[in-house]
Symmetry: C2
Subunit: 383 residues, 2 copies
Amino acid sequence: MSTFKKRYLLTPGPTMIPPAVVEARAKQLPHHRTPQFYELIKSVHERLKPFFCTKNDIYSLSASGSGAMEAAVMSLLSPGDTAICIDGGKFGHRWVEMCAAAGANVVTIKVENGHAVDPQSVATTLQQHPETKAVFTQFVETSTGVIFDIKSIGGHVAKTNAVLVVDAISGLGTQEFLPDAWDVDIVVAGSQKALMLPPGLGFVSVSPKAWKLIDAAKNRAFYLDLRRYRKGHESGEHPFTPAISLYIELNEVLTMIEQETVEGMWKRHAWLAEATRAGIAALGLKLFAEQPANALTAVAVPNGVDGGKLVKTMRDDLGVTIAGGQAELKGKIFRIAHLGYIDRFDVLTGLAALEMALKRQHYSVEIGRGVTAAEKVLVNDPQ
Amino acid sequence: MSTFKKRYLLTPGPTMIPPAVVEARAKQLPHHRTPQFYELIKSVHERLKPFFCTKNDIYSLSASGSGAMEAAVMSLLSPGDTAICIDGGKFGHRWVEMCAAAGANVVTIKVENGHAVDPQSVATTLQQHPETKAVFTQFVETSTGVIFDIKSIGGHVAKTNAVLVVDAISGLGTQEFLPDAWDVDIVVAGSQKALMLPPGLGFVSVSPKAWKLIDAAKNRAFYLDLRRYRKGHESGEHPFTPAISLYIELNEVLTMIEQETVEGMWKRHAWLAEATRAGIAALGLKLFAEQPANALTAVAVPNGVDGGKLVKTMRDDLGVTIAGGQAELKGKIFRIAHLGYIDRFDVLTGLAALEMALKRQHYSVEIGRGVTAAEKVLVNDPQ
């Protein structure tokens, strides 16, 4: 086996990093308590709004996406509050665990792996629990590759006093998501997805309706108390020592995003997803997600193939890292992401590596068939 | 057209740069008149020997490959000396021009574009010009993608008093080249090829036979006088202010090369070249080179295709930079390099981009056909 290989990262976070961002990282770091850095923080928070498609203020935490999720939970809920959590996979289950840890009365809407939540079930559950303070869900459930119908869910939640909190960590920037029009109160995002940055920054946008609940809540958090982030927000003073280098990189990547536009990002991800699905179909493989997201494609491991070994061959022998299944889906699915700093040739690389790895397990696969199907989509630019 | 694209560099220099090298570049630069830097220079010069497959000392110049070529010419030749130059393309012609500029009596062996020199013609020309001081040739003529039979040429030159100077800039590290066994006296190399570095460093290895001629020559050079480089060589003292950052990067890349081994590099380039040629053949296109090198594949532009536009579409619309033809070959050939920091998926990317660009000119091409043929070679590791 050749020791020489490049590394391709086709996982649903972290994603690959644009060279311009890597170069920005090499710059000398400014101190965070300087007028220059205050301006930078203020500027990136404003420039994130078109990416989020929101007029609400956006707050940033030196934390992973889960830290930002917990900031929403801890800031909104008081012990004993009722929270509805949609659990359609690993990350939905994380909402359940976080709300329980916060002392909430958790009402879980369990959704089968690979399926999307029925928005009507949210309406019904809200009727059954009129005391509900907040509804927690995913935009894209990363563990299954499913996209949820946030617009419909938002319509139901908006009719109540409850706020809607959406983990848009994997989905934001990959397909249409309009939090203000769809009545989403809190959007949670992370740096290592469509934002094309290393992990380490979490983001939370907060609506006036959510702030009311936060201000009334008995918050037991400190680092994750969103009110602390609101305090110096206008002047660009971060409440803690921020992850300075990531802000420098964020500043850099926002220029790329402004050039492409968020609508351009949606189109690109739709196109990459369409090509990937065409490749998977041409290989005779089955999509796992009922409503597949544009951020990643989850595929059922076919009979006779060792799913763990498939991922390992692609990563260790071919240099192409994709994700396997998590928890009970381990070995049953694999997930190819087309998320972030990805262009048409990365999709071809992912499918070629998949074909090679299937061949190495003596699975009946026609080399080039999936790649060709994808290339037929990718020969044209995104529409 | 989408503004978002990655950049792929599939040209015969400069090549893509490994991430580890880019990161090494971000380090603080040491001063070059320090014991630490002397050690570094000494070390990289020694570590380059296995890459060159020579026991001769290797000297480095802050210069492009052409600067290193001229250092050989200016150091070896005195005005009026006879030099035989093999001119099989743009870079062979450069030898002719440099030797003429040095005041030499130039005997040119003209080789048709796309063809390899007949080693016997070198033997004949040497017999006709027994006063010849040096024979200048290419290992790989980059402008046509042709490889020359240096082993046979070396056998003929070794029987005379002349020295053999080989421009191995594009070829070194991409296929077997044994200067000591083949009686090559001076090997010229550059940083931006199989060495995977940015341009800016030129290298020259010098045999004892060549040193004798250099020491006897009336050298009119200063910066390009190889004797100045020999002076501080043992202690690591560079005669001029060296391009420090490139030495830091060279130090980094040598570790990668030692891991792969030079034989591993030859195998990888042979495999990438084989796959590229298979893809080109499957598309019904014709190779331009009679004896194709493993560093790059030159292809005749087919009838009905605008060669300049093809290269432009690949670069500007698809992000994949290949090289067109130079001088009289402009518009007649294109050249896809598989040289340096390149793996199997880059070859697929290059061929996919070629297919897409041909399609955009309404050339009859079956999308996926070339890629599939290449993938069938690349599904197995290099042998």
